[in-house]
Amino acid sequence: MQIDLNGEARVTGARTLAQLIEEQGFDAASVATAVNGAFVSRSARDETPLSPGARVEVLSPMQGG
């Protein structure tokens, strides 16, 4: 299915957020995630299903003021 990952269209075989994180090669422990604008905690990624067109954000620490 096609989803939107960090603003870019991706085709994925992942069915849950946890699978997507692994499939895309992110370090699961050092990113924070949101699906369709809502925070998804690390422990909830396993039971968070992805549906076509889902907007997934994977964020990490960055410089800021």
Partner: protein
């Protein structure tokens, strides 16, 4: 001072816009800051190196919600930051205008209420408006961070009278001048006026020598704080001789 945490240094330093990670690391050390601000962005290539600097600095992390324009964006960002950095502290920014980067006070208060209820220690980026300040306190904030001037403008304390009134209006609330400072003298002034701390970024990062400027700000903040504690003399319009007249010779 801030949600039960006492700090030795009253300078909070931003981590953006430095010419290199090496300069950033040296500037944090030279400033003496114990709190540094960070943000959350889409995972990029340089994420790992930055994480290392954060750990190495030994500083307490104050994540921000910079760039957020709505309550929902700010709340979600705060929740993500809490998990990622393992802290309840959040510098809450809800921007209302693209040119001035002025906070949207209505959305700010609403987001502060939601986050406080969720157990966050909210550091709201606000203006010197007293009523907004009161609403933020009602919402659960135990710190207020009024702007000195628009973010990145380097104008200093643009409404000194308003900020002085704010200091007087919230005697028991830690107040941090956040944004708009361009020179150490302006930071010292804020501290002399009784503000509890200053938070800045661009003035250090965009200096010709950021590391030296970080040190200058650290000293200015400490001097201003010491001056406030020592009690400044009142200013007056006319001169008043400091050398006594008594005992002066008649030589005319």
């Amino acid at each position: 001072m801030f949600y039960g945490t006492d700090l030795t240094s009253r300078l909070l330093l931003g981590t953006a816009q430095y010419p290199s990670p090496i300069v950033l690391r040296a500037a944090i050390a030279a400033s003496g800051a114990e709190v540094i601000t960070v943000s959350l962005r889409r995972e990029g290539a340089e994420g790992g190196a930055f994480r290392e600097i954060l750990t190495e600095s030994g500083c307490r992390i104050l994540p921000n919600t910079a760039g957020c324009h709505t309550v929902r964006e700010a709340v979600t960002t705060a929740q993500m930051a809490r998990e990622l950095f393992g802290t309840n502290w959040i510098k809450l920014e809800v921007i209302g205008h693209a040119d001035t980067l002025q906070p949207d006070p209505f959305a700010l208060v609403e987001a502060a209420r939601i986050l406080s209820a969720e157990g966050f220690d909210v550091f709201p980026y606000t203006t010197e408006d007293l009523i907004v300040g009161e609403k933020l306190i009602e919402a659960g904030c135990r710190v207020l961070m009024p702007w000195g001037a628009p973010i990145g403008s380097g104008q200093g304390l643009r409404n000194e009278g308003g900020l002085r009134a704010m200091r007087a209006h919230f005697p028991g609330v830690p107040l941090v001048i956040d944004a708009g400072l361009g020179a150490p003298s302006q930071a010292a002034r804020a501290m002399e006026m009784g503000f509890d701390a200053v938070l800045l970024n661009t003035a250090v990062a965009k200096a010709t020598d950021p590391v030296a400027m970080a040190s200058a700000f650290g000293q200015a903040v400490a001097a201003g704080r010491a001056a406030h504690a020592a009690g400044l003399m009142p200013s007056r319009d006319m001169a008043k001789a400091s050398t006594p007249i008594f005992g002066m010779a008649e030589l005319a």
